[in-house]
Symmetry: C2
Subunit: 102 residues, 2 copies
């Protein structure tokens, strides 16, 4: 199991549309067979900063996400709304270790 944090900085005039694009991406991503979580978060102190918390059963499952139509649609939709390049940071899961708790 792995988690990727995707940190995203969005230009002010596109925040509402960005959240809507993330809703669509979230709803489709949680239906992927290898997905465990796909949480969409907004920094409480900096409304321009969002984080996608993407948990998958394996590296392969995380990679498969990037081949989906909904990922590609999100990527293309938000491309011009970035205030700076987004950063994906992979993490090893230490706890909980039981797949059923994800």
């Amino acid at each position: 199991m792995i988690v990727t944090f995707v940190h995203v900085w969005v230009i002010p005039e596109k925040r509402v549309e960005f959240i809507e694009a993330c809703r669509i991406n979230h709803e489709a991503s949680v239906k992927e067979p290898g997905n465990l979580r796909f949480d969409i978060l907004q920094d409480a102190e900096d409304p321009a900063k969002f984080t996608l918390y993407e948990a998958y059963v394996s590296e392969d499952a995380a990679r498969a996400h990037k081949e989906t139509e909904h990922y590609r649609a999100w990527r293309d939709t938000v491309a011009d709304w970035m205030a700076q390049p987004r950063k994906g940071i992979k993490h090893t899961i230490l706890y909980p270790q039981e797949p059923a708790k994800w």
Copy 2:
């Protein structure tokens, strides 16, 4: 519902003990009535960098965590193992919005 990311940098010689202290904290924290998640993650590229992903039903529930014995024991145990001060960053949850999905 809120999520706090707690970013922690640990001195190399204490990583194993830090993970064990986090296991104990994780196991007790997920039993708190207001807790939704308490994931312990390690950066895949930087083994000194850990993140605690702490989701609670409310700000009050997140605050109550800091009054627990297990939190205080973790805090005191790891105090001398920090390579730099840890950072807690609060986030608003956008999706999923249904409490049952947490």
